[in-house]
């Protein structure tokens, strides 16, 4: 009976580690497949760089205008 317990533990280990690795290996395979499919059929739209730059330029213009107004106000 006593000897069985350690053997039982080893059996648990074999089954447990086997399941964990099997699960993760399947998961890895699925992850690769999923990303391949998604990149092929549903590519993410590239973020539009042009509008961003235009946005910062607008911001610069606004900042310039505000600071000009402030200087004008202080002088006045």
């Amino acid at each position: 009976m006593d000897t069985n317990l350690v053997v039982e533990g080893l059996k648990f280990m074999a089954l447990g580690m086997g399941t964990v690795f099997a699960f993760l290996i399947i998961l890895i395979a699925v992850m690769y497949a999923m990303s391949a499919i998604i990149h092929k059929f549903f590519p993410e739209p590239q973020p539009n760089m042009e509008t961003n730059q235009a946005g910062t330029q607008d911001n610069k213009k606004i900042i310039a205008a505000i600071s000009a107004a402030i200087t004008h106000h202080r002088k006045g």
């Binding site: 533990g9 280990m13 580690m17 964990v20 699960f23 993760l24 890895i28 992850m31 998604i38």
Partner: protein, 440 residues
């Protein structure tokens, strides 16, 4: 003069009434009607000695022989007197660790305070009708709180790093070797007669190696509720000590060249991938291991809410208010198991020792797995991220990053280590499912 006597009389009336009221509560509830009439006057000295007999000091020095523990069994005098004092000092030590040393204060403080309350004599706070006992039955004995915590953790987890480098999931798998290695160790210990652990108890202890607090509590309440206090305390204190336990093992098992390996930058992961991932993992769990779906299901529910991006309010509640409230109750409920009669037993010492072995073996196994993977062609993996395979999110990943930076200031390993880290959470949930399914 007459007026004065009248006043004195009223005062005594009032005094005796209050005293009766106190007696009444202690006496059997069925005899509560018209107690005032049967009240017998007693000399003041007797009242005084009666009060002294009801103090906590007296209860600690002269334990009540009829006092029962939370399971309705008799406890030894040691557990009623000195044992309680020792446990109260232990909770003070936990306060110090949490406040001065910053060891997982969010959980350690509620646990320690719960432990302090549970060791109060006479009051029976951890008993069936005490509020700690009620909290325990409300959400711990039915595994509710760990599940809610898992939802919150899911909502905080970002699977991006894992998705961009899927093969690092293997590191999270290897680290689960700590669980099963310790399981064998624990049954071997009982085989050679040092302790008397059943297979269920050994399994519950070994899950500490998964370094995942909620999973440990989930398994312990299912397989060995009598060991819950020690397992939860061991699990959370070792998680808090990750920055102390792991680095020496990591440095001992890697060469200087290996520690300097630079990993390729992570690719961008699209939103759709992150959205589909939780459903994919859950579907896999349904097919392979339905026993693990309570944990994985709750985890993926939280993550799905987060990645969906349309339920920001629910996501926010899961990540903040809900997980905070549950943490308070979980901590207090676990603390109720720190009662002297349950904690001050020889098993606790073995659980603490086995826990730290489980933890170290898990760390080492992750590192060896990374070395093994480097034998195959492909992008090299820095073995330092292998140690992050034990769950302990995100502490273990931060430790990998910190040790890496010690050898090369420019080597940022944090994001690479998050992959094995979150895979470790999935891995230990799977391991937990296997253990549960084996005892069905």
């Amino acid at each position: 003069m007459k007026y004065f006597i009248l006043k004195l009389f009223t005062f005594f009336m009032l005094f005796s009434f209050t005293n009766t009221f106190a007696n009444e509560q202690m006496a059997n509830a069925t005899e509560s009607t018209h107690k005032e009439e049967t009240y017998q006057t007693r000399p003041f000295a007797e009242m005084m000695s009666g009060f002294i007999a009801s103090t906590g000091l007296n209860a600690l020095i002269n334990p009540d022989p009829d006092e029962l523990d939370s399971k309705g069994e008799h406890m030894s005098d040691f557990h009623k007197g000195v044992g309680r004092l020792i446990m109260i000092l232990v909770t003070f030590l936990l306060f110090w660790l949490a406040i001065a040393k910053g060891f997982e204060p969010l959980l350690l403080l509620p646990i320690a305070f719960g432990g302090l309350l549970a060791n109060i004599p006479v009051a029976g706070i951890a008993g069936e009708h005490g509020f700690l006992g009620v909290i325990y039955h409300m959400g711990l004995s039915n595994e509710m709180f760990p599940i809610i915590i898992f939802m919150g953790v899911g909502a905080m987890t970002d699977f991006g790093p894992l998705l961009s480098n899927p093969k690092t999931a293997l590191l999270g798998g290897a680290a689960q070797f700590g669980i099963f290695g310790t399981l064998v160790g624990a049954v071997a210990l009982s085989h050679f007669g040092f302790v008397d652990f059943t297979l269920q108890q050994a399994s519950a202890i070994s899950i500490i190696g998964g370094a995942d607090g909620p999973t440990s509590i989930f398994i312990a309440t299912k397989l060995a509720p009598e060991l819950l206090g020690a397992i939860a305390v061991a699990s959370y204190s070792y998680m808090a000590m990750v920055p102390i336990i792991q680095p020496p093992i990591m440095k001992a098992l890697t060469t200087d060249a290996e520690r300097r390996i630079k990993m390729t930058t992570l690719r961008h992961v699209s939103r759709l991938e992150k959205l589909i991932f939780p459903i994919t993992v859950l579907s896999l769990a349904i097919l392979v291991l339905p026993e693990a779906t309570p944990l994985i299901g709750a985890f993926m529910f939280g993550n799905f809410l987060k990645e969906s991006g349309v339920v920001e309010r629910l996501n926010d509640t899961l990540q903040n208010s809900l997980i905070n409230i549950t943490t308070i109750f979980l901590g207090l409920g676990v603390g109720s198991k720190l009662a002297a009669d349950q904690f001050l037993v020889p098993d606790t010492m073995f659980i603490m020792v086995l826990g730290i072995i489980a933890f170290s073996v898990g760390t080492a196994a992750g590192i060896f797995m990374a070395k093994l993977m480097n034998l195959f062609p492909g992008h090299k993996i820095n073995p330092l991220i292998g140690s992050a395979g034990v769950s302990a999110v995100p502490m273990a990943a931060r430790v990998s990053n910190k040790v890496g930076m010690e050898y090369d200031r420019t080597n940022m390993l944090l994001m690479h280590a998050m992959g094995p880290n979150v895979a470790g959470v999935i891995g230990s949930a799977v391991a937990a499912g296997v253990l549960i399914s084996l005892f069905q």
